[in-house]
Symmetry: C2
Subunit: 318 residues, 2 copies
Amino acid sequence: MKHIGVDLGGTNIVVGLMDEDGNIIKSYTRPTMSDRKTEEIFDDIIDMCKILIDEYKLSKSSLKGIGMGIPGEVDAKAGIINYSNNIPMKNFNVLEYMQKLCSLCDMDIDFYFANDADCAALGELIAGAGKGHSDLVILTLGTGVGGGIIINHKIYSGFYAGGAELGHQTIVHNGELCTCGNKGCLEAYASATALIRDAKKAALENPHSLLNSLAKNNVDNITAKIVFDAKDQKDEIATNLVENYIEYLSVGVANLINIFKPEILVLSGGISKQGEKLTTPLKEKVITKIFGNNLKTKIEIATLGNDAGLIGAGMLSR
Amino acid sequence: MKHIGVDLGGTNIVVGLMDEDGNIIKSYTRPTMSDRKTEEIFDDIIDMCKILIDEYKLSKSSLKGIGMGIPGEVDAKAGIINYSNNIPMKNFNVLEYMQKLCSLCDMDIDFYFANDADCAALGELIAGAGKGHSDLVILTLGTGVGGGIIINHKIYSGFYAGGAELGHQTIVHNGELCTCGNKGCLEAYASATALIRDAKKAALENPHSLLNSLAKNNVDNITAKIVFDAKDQKDEIATNLVENYIEYLSVGVANLINIFKPEILVLSGGISKQGEKLTTPLKEKVITKIFGNNLKTKIEIATLGNDAGLIGAGMLSR
């Protein structure tokens, strides 16, 4: 059986055909052009799905279903997109709209929907860092801090719609203001945005720090990678920034381990590219914070990169 | 079908017979005398089970199974108690030992095991505050802060043994020292012990506070109830203590709601007896902290009291 996955992003739509293990056989990409009408975006998706169905002569007996990762709050059972952050969609009955494809192909198709971060978690479980496991918690360290929970091979997204807001756990009561309006969220300390915020401040206060030269003497050029690079070159300011960053990240990771006792916790997103430079000191700090100080959970880096969401979407119909 | 539940506590052993809805038909209590040999404690349990089996003429066709709530870390699948905090048990093969009962009664019996806090969560779901729901998070506000998670009618206890350590999420980075060795755990702020700690300090610093007169001018008499009673009598110091307590509790509750999006979150333990005096201000504070500021999770007080663990243990075989 084959599976089609749809990764609807703010910039691109990717539609891919895959096998039962999440190996991508073929995929197509088109720009989302998110300021279009929602119907136009989904007409493109329908067209891309139809191209794959025709190309591979898929039928009811060879196509298990089509799964979609939605960047926002989706009511998976009803097939309704409540709202999206990046694409202006609201109360859109996507399940009903996608029936067009069934008419076009003259076949019944089973559709599945999930939040895109949840899809990425499922993708990593089935074909990435979590392969061979049944339970996984993923934490995405990017512009924000997102996450997903897989319990017994299935996405756990709680009783009501929306993904698990793992980045919005308070770790510092009355701490830094978060984008969500609360104070002291993990996201306000462990996102790339938070690291860059602190690095800009430190660079301005310390003109001789390597941060400035690596950023071509313009703090607006500072990226998370520049901070880690400056640390690798033994810059003291950057070393403190990274130490501080990993300390706060370890609080969020330890909380999730205390709560879920997962077999594996996966880090994804831009900052996770630091690999063992991130996980080795992180594990040391997590051990001191978890109950019993005995780390049984594996902490690993995601392996699928941008494909995780597409693969997870496809695997929704597995 | 009938179910037998065993609630093994540090003080008492309670063994009860119940129906499929968790209604207790008959129960027996004996002192645990926890300094005995583990085998002697379980000989008592076997004896109590046999009394119920004989009294109600239970057979393989009328007894669904025997479930046990263990105060400590239990490997439910293997039937091994790894260790207990309150009763000196270590690596005890309880499944093997309980086979004695099968010989005594000349019948096959299915045994089930779980952490006692997890049993209490299951009990509240099936017969208490969570009745009619499928998912529940419980937070026990007692000497410590414990908890349990029920997902789709089943205890979720993670990949490796031990209950969910919901009280050991860090909510104040580098905050108050917790009994677990970490700093800033929810338990260090939202347990009765934490409230009493803060109240003693405040009472000593404020001799005119009602806290002192209610405690008969001995701060060692201060209980959580005295703090709430003094607040009810408009004592300013006690009002601040309760306000502060609920503020920190709201951080932990909001974190769990952001992570689990549960249908219902239940509060149990001594402090939960304050009822709506606790939940009404708590909900107001939780709303300001959860993602989207839209509280869809019900926050309720547990209804089963001390029976929750026994009922949940019995319901393990449901």
